[in-house]
Amino acid sequence: MSLEEKVKNIIVDKLGVEPDEVVEEASFVDDLGADSLDLVELIMSMEETFDLEISDEEAEKILKVKDAIEYIKAHT
């Protein structure tokens, strides 16, 4: 499974959205209905899946699906 697919699977699972909604330009809050707790859970799940530590400051910049994919690509 590609990195992008893994990220999308996490988003589908944690936010309870349909896979086709998870496009790279989608905003977690505005398009995928995430609230502040969802965002924390999403980041935690990405940290665990990709064996990363994402600081709160860095996490605040991950607003869209593509932000998450780019961050993980740059740090794994």
Partner: protein, 416 residues
């Protein structure tokens, strides 16, 4: 009660129980004397003294909420949302911007999200504190029941929860009644919920020797008042009632199941888990409910007993009924629906209040099943094994919780 206290009526019912998902399926199974008890499927019971429980079957949370909500919902949350939706639909009560602030929620829960607690304990031990879900606390706390009911249906009135163990559901119904009597709302969503068929819960109750270990005959394990009773069976589910002032209900032409006529409480001040001797605290609780309803003792036709199937509860409750009612104790009908649903703990008072309303509405008394060996010390009319068609003008629902906390409510036939 003084004459200007408004009459409170029951207009909607909803249930998720081990006997069915829905009021009709549950009530029908109950009156046929079916048991909801079976082997525990939720976890591996190897090494447990008790391997049986009354689990809810065929429940799909997504029938009642979105996929996202269902994924985040602890089982107890899913049950209470489902039961609330059924009750609101049953009542035909639509919550909109015009009435939202006059519709409140008051529900009870004994333990809350124990399953989440146990899973999260594994997470912190095995994967560290940084991996504990941000949803751990919201899924754990019992008042997320009324919180999420309000969020889900838009009820902006009083929002509260009690955690009075096995009395929580009945306390909630009574407290919701008070809120309506005091004019703080026009309608209340109330009842109780529990879902704790988990390793810690079963192990903890086992250590107290509170549970039946009749593992080879699950359907016969819950046998309140029977001589061979050996403890209670853990059940799960939710029971929700819509209460309204009579004026509010009649104005919108609602169907009325019963009048909620009285509410009583007492404290044992005796022991953490054992009832006070001869059910002294229970008797005072029932007495205060009957006085609140303004009824003579002889008016009570039926009691939906706490009737857990433990030695102590059933004996003390029987003694309490005798000491309070005297000769009338032998004339009134008593049944323990826990013989079929198991003991829903904080949810018990919710579903049993629903059963009490249905008993008054249908003039049909559900039985106490598994009455095979009479206990000479429990010698009242427990409506053994078969439901009974009988006029029920006034009925009482009892719930007694650990900590020596007691609650009773009285329902009577609605007089148009």
């Amino acid at each position: 009660m003084n004459t200007c206290t408004p009459e409170i009526v029951v207009t909607g019912l909803g249930m998720v129980t081990p006997l069915g998902v829905g009021v009709e399926s549950t009530w029908s199974a109950l009156c046929q004397g079916k048991s909801g008890v079976g082997p525990i499927t939720r976890f591996d019971t190897s090494g447990f003294k008790t391997t049986i429980a009354a689990e809810v079957k065929d429940f799909n949370a997504e029938d009642f909420m979105s996929k996202k909500e269902a994924r985040k919902a602890e089982r107890f949350i899913a049950y209470i949302i489902a039961a609330s939706k059924m009750a609101l639909d049953d009542a035909g009560l639509v919550i909109d911007s015009g009435n939202a602030e006059r519709v409140g929620v008051f529900t009870g829960c004994g333990l809350g999200g124990l399953q989440t607690m146990e899973e999260s304990r594994d997470v912190i031990v095995n994967r560290g504190p940084g991996r504990v879900s941000p949803f751990f606390i919201p899924m754990l706390i019992g008042n997320m029941g009324p919180g999420l009911i309000a969020i889900h249906f838009g009820a902006k009135g009083p929002n509260c929860s009690v955690a009075t163990a096995c009395a929580a559901g009945t306390h909630s119904v009574g407290e919701a009644m008070r809120i309506l009597q005091h004019g703080q709302a026009d309608a209340m969503i109330t009842g109780g919920v529990e879902s704790v068929i988990t390793p810690l819960c079963i192990a903890g109750f086992n250590s107290m020797k509170a549970l039946s270990t009749r593992n080879s005959e699950p359907e016969k394990a819950s046998r309140p008042f029977d001589k061979e009773r050996d403890g209670f069976v853990v059940g799960e589910g939710a029971g929700i009632l819509i209460l309204e002032t009579r004026e509010h209900a009649e104005k919108r032409g609602a169907r009325i199941y019963a009048t909620l006529a009285g509410y009583g409480m007492s404290g044992d001040a005796y022991h953490m888990t054992a009832p006070s001797p001869e059910g002294e605290g229970m008797a005072r609780c029932m007495k205060s409910a009957i006085e609140d309803a303004g009824l003579p003792l002889e008016a009570v036709d039926y009691i939906n007993a706490h009737g857990t199937s433990t030695q102590f509860n059933d004996l003390c409750e029987t003694q309490a009924v005798k000491s309070l009612f005297g000769e009338h104790a032998y004339k009134l009908a008593i049944s323990s629906t826990k013989s079929m649903t198991g003991h829903l703990l904080g949810g018990a008072g919710g579903v049993e209040s629903v059963f009490t309303a249905l008993t008054v509405y249908h003039d049909l008394i559900p039985p106490t099943i598994n009455q095979e060996s009479p206990d000479p010390e429990c010698d009242l009319d427990y409506v053994p094994n078969q439901a009974r068609k009988q006029v029920v003008n006034a009925a009482m629902n009892n719930s007694f919780g650990f900590g020596g906390t007691n609650a009773s409510v009285i329902m009577k036939k609605f007089k148009a």
